[in-house]
């Protein structure tokens, strides 16, 4: 019969538990640590939410003012203007690409000649500067002939050294100049007076031949040029209108803001006066009386002159529509240069959208009402799908995260496109194909990548990768790659490459784990059926590990999206939705990111301002994204473990 009564074990009995109190202490210690961590996490979330939630109502008030003072009205018209400008720049790019396509040889020759001139100029700079200084100084006595001679000798020596390629990086390469031409150029520079900075005759000659060639290839394009010019000037009326009305509405807004500040100040003073000591009160009351010096703004009256110009807007708008139609008719059907043609096609593709946008403007202007309230839903949707993130301007701060989100997304995609093949490939190689010695070498080496601080990677990105990519991209033989030559040294691709590098260890380690956890019995069964090594790997092992590998990729993605330092340093930080007309080449455009914007702007914004709160909302969004990714990854991993029994 078991003893069911819960009598304590008599003390002194060998079964009596000892050391109970220390056990409890240890438990409390670790339990306390865990609890503290959770409490801190909750506090962080609460803090984020508290700072962020206030954003939407405040932003809404700002938008309301934006509307009342008429800024919104002007922006409607300005939108057309911006679109028109972009269209014009497309045409210009097409034109210059076409013109330059025939002059590539001349441009390269001139560039190389300039490079030589610059190289020699830099090499002789110290002596040259000294000479200029001694001869130029009016106050001092004229230099002694010995000094002059000494400096000239120094100049000649440096020049000779440079000509033989002994200084610095050596002589710049000149594949498009013949030896004699190069020699001629050097001789001309050598013969030049040390004090002169005139371009050598040969360089001028090249310049002239380039100009002539340009003129020559521009000649058949005269009609095209005229059409472009006509198109660009068709917006001048609107341009004037917008700039004039924007001055008016800006003044209205500023007056309203000033008045608002004064009213708030008086309110603060009033609150203070209520509790103040009597001797201070009189002073405070005087302040209160003087606090508000401006009249409240009469928005309707202020807006009246702007609204009165709607007929003029109509005219300007019609002129612009006409300009678009006209230019569309006059454009050449196609251009022989591939790049120029691409720009032309992009213009054509954008024409209907532009026409539609111009067409509805008058309706929008006429239908615009200052007194329609801005809803909170509109505020939120404007934040999420807004195409602009404009801050710190005197016009109106606009917070739309779409460009940042797209930047983050594209950089992550590039990073994953690089990290997945390398990470998963290395995992497969290490686990399945490498011998034990290679394994011992490869694994720690890849995992070591993780130890590189991201700011150091950022250096590498700026100093090495960006420059290298840009240099490589100017090679003639690579010009078929879309986006080459790269315009911006810092762009999404460089950032994506570095982030990919950072994600490789995560993806590698976790996929290797996943592959390693696939029971050997599967591989053995496959071998016993006569499968080759690769068949076993790709048809049995990888499919069996696939959810683990996916989880690894997701965790890598989480790492990439949350990474800040590298993107801030390397992504180029242009807040703009990339121009997707470049196709794959889009990846060579700069972009800004969700993380980068917080790091860049949080230090500069006034505490508690709308801008400050907007950054917190971005932070919350990031938090949610990363949380969702990690949660999915955890689920996948769990499923993976279950499927392995």
């Amino acid at each position: 019969m078991p003893d069911t009564s819960h009598n304590p074990v008599p003390s002194g009995h060998p079964f009596c538990r000892r050391g109970r109190s220390t056990e409890g202490l240890i438990k409390a210690f670790f339990g306390g640590n865990a609890a503290l961590t959770i409490v801190i996490l909750v506090l962080i979330i609460l803090f984020l939410l508290r700072e962020g939630v206030g954003f939407f109502p405040e932003y809404r008030t700002e938008l309301q003012n934006f509307r009342k003072s008429g800024l919104e009205f002007v922006d409607i018209a300005r939108k057309d203007l911006t679109a028109h400008e972009q269209m014009g720049s497309l045409l210009n790019r097409a034109y210059f690409a076409q013109v330059n396509s025939n002059c590539r040889e001349e441009m390269q020759r001139l560039e190389e000649a300039t490079a030589i001139v610059n190289y020699l100029g830099e090499a002789t700079a110290p002596a040259h500067d000294a000479l200029v200084q001694v001869t130029d100084a009016e106050s001092n006595s004229p230099p002694t002939p010995e000094l002059l001679q000494k400096l000239s000798a120094q100049y000649r020596k440096r020049l000779a050294d440079a000509l033989s390629g002994r200084l610095g990086k050596g002589f710049p390469p000149t594949p498009h100049l013949s030896r004699t031409e190069q020699q001629l150029l050097c001789d001309q520079i050598a013969a030049r007076d040390p004090l002169s900075t005139d371009d050598p005759a040969f360089a001028n000659e090249l310049q002239a031949s380039l100009a002539a060639k340009r003129e020559l290839s521009a000649a058949p394009l005269i009609a095209f040029r005229d059409a472009i010019d006509a198109f660009q000037s068709s917006s001048s009326a609107l341009d004037v209108l917008v700039s004039e009305t924007s001055d008016t509405v800006k003044a209205t807004k500023e007056a309203a803001v000033l008045h608002g500040i004064q009213v708030r100040k008086r309110q603060t003073l009033l609150d203070a006066a209520r509790t103040a000591k009597p001797d201070l009160r009189s002073q405070l009351e005087a302040d209160i009386a003087a606090a508000v010096t401006t009249e409240p703004v009469d928005f309707t009256a202020a807006m009246a002159p702007v609204l009165a110009r709607i007929p003029q807007f109509k005219e300007a708008n019609a002129a612009m529509s006409a300009g678009l139609t006209e230019v569309s008719e006059k454009l050449p059907l196609s251009l022989s240069d591939e790049k120029a043609d691409r720009y032309l096609k992009a213009f054509r593709a954008a024409t209907p959208a532009m026409a539609a946008e111009t067409a509805d403007t008058v309706g929008l202007l006429e239908g615009w009402r200052a007194d329609v309230p801005v809803g909170i839903g509109m505020t939120i949707s404007g934040f999420i799908s807004g195409r602009d993130w404009i801050t710190g301007g005197e016009w109106q701060d606009i917070y739309g995260i779409l460009p940042l989100f797209i930047g983050s997304l594209m950089i992550s995609i590039i990073a994953l496109a690089i990290a997945i093949p390398f990470g998963v490939g290395a995992a497969i190689y290490t686990n399945q194909l490498a011998g034990p010695r290679q394994q011992r070498f490869v694994k720690p080496t890849i995992e070591f990548l993780q130890a590189i601080p991201s700011v150091v990677l950022g250096f590498v990105g700026i100093a090495v990768l960006g420059t290298l990519l840009q240099e490589v991209s100017t090679l003639d033989s690579l010009s078929w790659i879309p986006g080459f030559p790269i315009q911006q040294r810092l762009n999404m691709f460089t950032a994506g490459c570095l982030l990919g590098l950072m994600a490789i260890p995560t993806i590698f380690t976790l996929s290797e784990d996943a592959i390693n956890n696939v029971p050997a019995a599967f591989a053995e069964a496959s071998d016993a059926l006569g499968a080759s090594k690769l068949q076993t790997i790709f048809r049995v092992i990888v499919p069996a590990a696939i959810s683990g590998i996916l989880a690894a990729v997701l965790l890598g993605l989480g790492r990439v999206i949350g990474e800040t330092m590298v993107v801030l340093l390397v992504a180029g930080n242009r807040i703009q939705i990339p121009d997707f007309t470049d196709g794959i080449g889009t990846v060579f455009q700069p972009a800004h990111t969700l993380t980068g914007i917080i790091a860049q702007e949080l230090g500069e914004v006034p505490f508690g301002s709308v801008h400050y709160r907007a950054l917190f909302v971005v932070g919350i969004l990031l938090f949610v994204i990363v949380l969702a990714i990690n949660w999915t990854a955890q689920r996948l991993l769990r499923r993976f473990r279950i499927s392995q029994h």
Binding site: P436, F522, E524, A525, D527, A528, A531, S643
Partner: protein
Amino acid sequence: MVSDSVQPAIPAIEIENLRFSYGTKEVIHGVSLSIPANQITAFIGPSGCGKSTLLRCLNRINDRIPGAAITGGSIRIGGIDISRPDLDLQVLRRRVGMVFQKWNPFPKSIYDNIAYGLRIHGETNRKALDEKVEHSLRVVALWDDVKDRLKTSAFGLSGGQQQRLCIARTIAAKPDIILLDEPCSALDPLSTLKVEELLLELRNDYTIVIVTHNLAQASRCSDQTALFYLGELIEYGNTSQMFQAPREKRTEDYITGAFG
């Protein structure tokens, strides 16, 4: 017990003076054995005597273990020494299939498990695959149980069914020889019986080598029996003869349970 085992014994596998080591540890010390075609040969012996090792030499699956190697002698299958280093292992393993002690279907559907062996050998024709899958499943008497859930995971089957699925997977690849390493050691008596019946049926088309700890099983369904002890062959011969009138004293001790 199989009584009509007096067919002409064409040797399918000829092992001659085979030595095998894991690294520096030799575990098979010169075994010679000739395994007849279209018969069932059982390997018995106490644990650790090298039965599995010898069996795993026959399709060179031991090559997976680093350091494991045949250090002497030869194994001839179809007239060629399969211990040669330049042998095409994939072809050898197609001809010599293997079923493992612990059933190990792939984490795929029932259908894909069987189709796998066919696909890796280049069969892509959908109809041919269907036919062969069905045939293999019928041979192992699993077809009726699973024909409605071919696309579901193989892990949804019972242990005995999974083991039969593994046998079906092996025979789908059309080997000449099937090696089985204690295929029934983790099965209940009823499933064991089914597998044994299956083996007796397969005997007509395949040469079968089975490792077993179950002496009753060896006597029930094998034609030839080989008894090993500490890496050496003690006795080899006709099963009925060996169980009724063992030549060696140690054999008698082992089958009467005096050691092992």
